[in-house]
């Protein structure tokens, strides 16, 4: 199964019944497979006129009651930013897949990269939080997609699946039976719909979302709004709203974050890496182990919110930290922030359209530590 295909399978499994999109390499297979499969599961597929419209359409569809997704790559992801911000503000669940390719701009459209890490967090204007997940295998793409829908329903928020071309186009043996009884979070209509407040001020949380057409009429807007969803200029309400939008994610970080650790629990080198790159890092780890280094790997699956609590715990046990990314340094900034030790976070970057080889990583590590730790 291909990575892009796993996303579609995972999404359908999670209950996705609406896809709106606009073709772009290397995400296009996701649209194509949705076009093929959705009619058979009672779902809808529509090719929109652009990515702005695609993002708008999935928000509309989600409000009308269907779990909805779109997929794109860098240029399209840039165009979606305004409406991603709308989804964040109006708290409409939806899933956006960004299969990263090399940028900036049109860049090298068929070549892999991980250059949208920071954009996925900060691409839209204004304060907000967002959940971003990044799988490193085809199997994980399937799993992460299901979790993306779950998290998006649970926290009423857009969730970004940050893939890269390598995983998107990779075909790998996958056994879906492993996920036999995976939980799927469905939208529940509360008992008491009389007093329904779509934007109830729940500390660090959200009210359930009742779809349009179910007899509960309310207002949805990108303006600052009160608990009923109606626009307001009340600065107290504004303060609480924005705080809640951020806190419902930041304060539930421990529920949201996923990561994997591998190798030593303490030692010389801690690698931090995600997505396809972590596969090269794992291979490099094997090499370095052979050469006697004590190596650990920390792989965030949840990129945002970043699992900083965990990293804070483990990094002091390593002498040197390497952030390996297919870009010129992005997650690096977050790691460097968390690690309160001068000069001990190092960047291993590659941004030329080629995938990392393990050997490059090994060499760079050795080069950087040739003068000892």
């Amino acid at each position: 199964m291909q990575g892009n295909e796993a996303v579609v399978e995972g999404a359908i499994r999670a209950g996705m019944r609406f896809y709106a999109g606009y073709p772009i390499t290397p995400s296009t297979e996701i649209a194509e497979l949705c076009a093929e499969k959705l009619p058979f599961v009672g779902g809808k597929f529509i090719q929109m006129e652009d990515e702005i419209a695609s993002m708008a359409a999935i928000i509309g569809a989600s409000l009308a009651g269907l779990k909805a997704m779109t997929a794109t790559s860098g240029p399209g992801f840039s165009l979606m930013q305004e409406n991603i911000g709308f989804a964040a503000m109006a708290e409409v669940p939806c899933v956006v897949v960004d299969v990263q390719r090399m940028g900036p701009s049109t860049g090298m459209p068929t070549s892999p990269a991980q250059g949208d890490v920071m954009q996925s967090r900060w691409g839209t204007h204004g304060d907000h939080s967002i959940i971003v997940l990044s799988p490193s295998s085809v199997k994980e793409a399937y799993y992460v997609t299901i979790q993306a829908f779950n998290l998006s329903e649970k926290y009423r928020t857009p969730v970004v699946i940050l893939m890269d071309e390598v995983i998107g186009h990779l075909r790998e043996t996958v056994n879906l039976d492993e996920y036999g009884d995976i939980e799927i979070i469905e939208r529940k209509i509360p008992e008491d719909i009389e007093n329904y407040l779509p934007y109830k001020d729940i500390e660090n949380g959200v009210a359930p979302l009742i779809p349009f057409g179910k007899g509960v009429r309310y207002h949805v807007t990108g303006l600052v709004h009160n608990e009923k969803g109606l626009p307001t200029n009340d600065t107290k309400i504004a303060e609480r709203l924005i705080k809640r939008l951020v806190d419902k994610i930041e304060k539930n970080k421990e529920d949201i974050v996923m990561y994997k650790e591998k190798g030593e629990k303490e030692g010389d080198i801690l690698f931090i890496s995600f997505g396809s790159t972590s596969r090269a890092v794992e291979a490099a780890e094997e090499e370095l182990k052979k050469e006697g280094f004590k190596v650990g790997i920390f792989r965030p699956i949840t990129i945002w919110p970043f699992p900083d609590t965990r990293l804070r715990k483990i990094y002091p046990k390593f002498r040197k930290i390497f952030v390996v990314e297919m870009n010129r340094g992005q997650l690096y900034y977050e790691v460097d922030r968390v690690v309160k030790r001068e000069g001990e976070v190092e960047n291993i970057n590659k941004a030329n359209g080629e995938f990392f080889t393990p050997c490059e990583i090994v060499e760079k590590v050795k080069e950087r530590i040739k003068n000892g730790f």
């Binding site: 929109m48 708008a56 509309g60 989600s62 409406n83």
Partner: protein, 274 residues
């Protein structure tokens, strides 16, 4: 207490509205409500989607399922709503900036797809919400804050554009001719497919003041005096129609509707799989 229509279809707590004295947004909004009321479609299955602008604030006042989106994108959101649940009656409220400037692409594509959405565009020639800049529909040589020496752009005939894009119901009404406007909206909603109703509106605050168009009532009177019904216009010479607003139905044709076509495709596939 307020009128039956207000009690039934408005969120009273949100009134009075924020619009300027004499702004026709309220007139057109009430015309939409009258149309819905006449059609007896109830409130629960009606979704009103709007963009950003003075006109687009209408959605907040209305007691339907209401969705106030981003600037220019209302039709794209509405497409998602309608396609996800074709049982809903989806009405888009938009302005001339919202729909004819930034939102043009979604407009022509919805028209092309002939998806069953009714778009009512409040046409006041300017961007009201941001303080009176020129919109694409501003008459040539009229003034606006971004056209201080008179607009040099050719003004956009959005009905012609809608027809060019393949819309199957296209009409123009005015905030003066309320009864007719209600009828046109009613027909637009009943029409199966993409419907566009351009409602000629007035912005006394910006367009009116800068172009010395007098009081709100004067501006409505101007609409009255300069509008010609399409049936009457058909019998007139082009010179006589110069500078006039032709009102009525321009297009009303049947064509395959998008969500129905999708459903048909699904049925076909079911058969072919069996």
């Amino acid at each position: 207490m307020a009128s039956r229509l207000v009690e039934e279809y408005f969120r009273k707590e949100t009134l009075p509205n924020i619009w300027c004295p004499g702004c026709s947004n309220g007139i057109v909004t009430m015309a939409i409500v009258r149309a819905i009321d006449n059609l007896k479609i109830g409130k629960d299955k009606v979704v009103v989607v709007s963009g950003i602008g003075c006109s687009s604030r209408a959605s907040g006042y209305l007691d339907f399922n209401t969705l106030h989106t981003t600037h220019g994108r209302a039709i794209a959101f509405a497409t998602g709503v309608k396609f996800a649940n074709p049982e809903l009656t989806v009405i888009v409220i938009t302005g001339d900036g919202d729909n004819a400037a930034i939102g043009g692409n979604h407009f022509i594509h919805a028209a092309r797809r002939n998806i069953d959405i009714t778009v009512v565009m409040y046409n006041n020639h300017i961007y009201g919400m941001t303080g009176g800049q020129a919109s694409p529909t501003i008459p040539r040589y009229d003034k606006a804050t971004t056209a201080p020496y008179g607009s040099i752009d050719r003004d956009f005939d959005i009905c012609k554009l809608a027809i060019g894009a393949g819309a199957t119901y296209v009409a123009r009404g005015t905030a003066y001719h309320v009864q007719q406007l209600v009828k046109l909206i009613e027909k637009g909603i009943s029409h199966k497919g993409f419907s566009f109703i351009k409602a000629m509106s007035i912005c006394p605050t910006y367009y009116g003041r800068r172009n010395k168009k007098g009081s709100p009532a004067d501006m409505l009177k101007w609409l009255k005096d300069n509008s010609i019904d399409i049936n009457k216009a058909a019998k007139m010479k082009p010179e006589e129609l110069e500078g006039k607003i032709i009102i009525g139905e321009f297009v009303n044709i049947e064509a395959p509707e998008y969500t129905e076509e999708y459903q048909k495709m699904v049925e076909r596939l079911k058969v072919s799989v069996k």
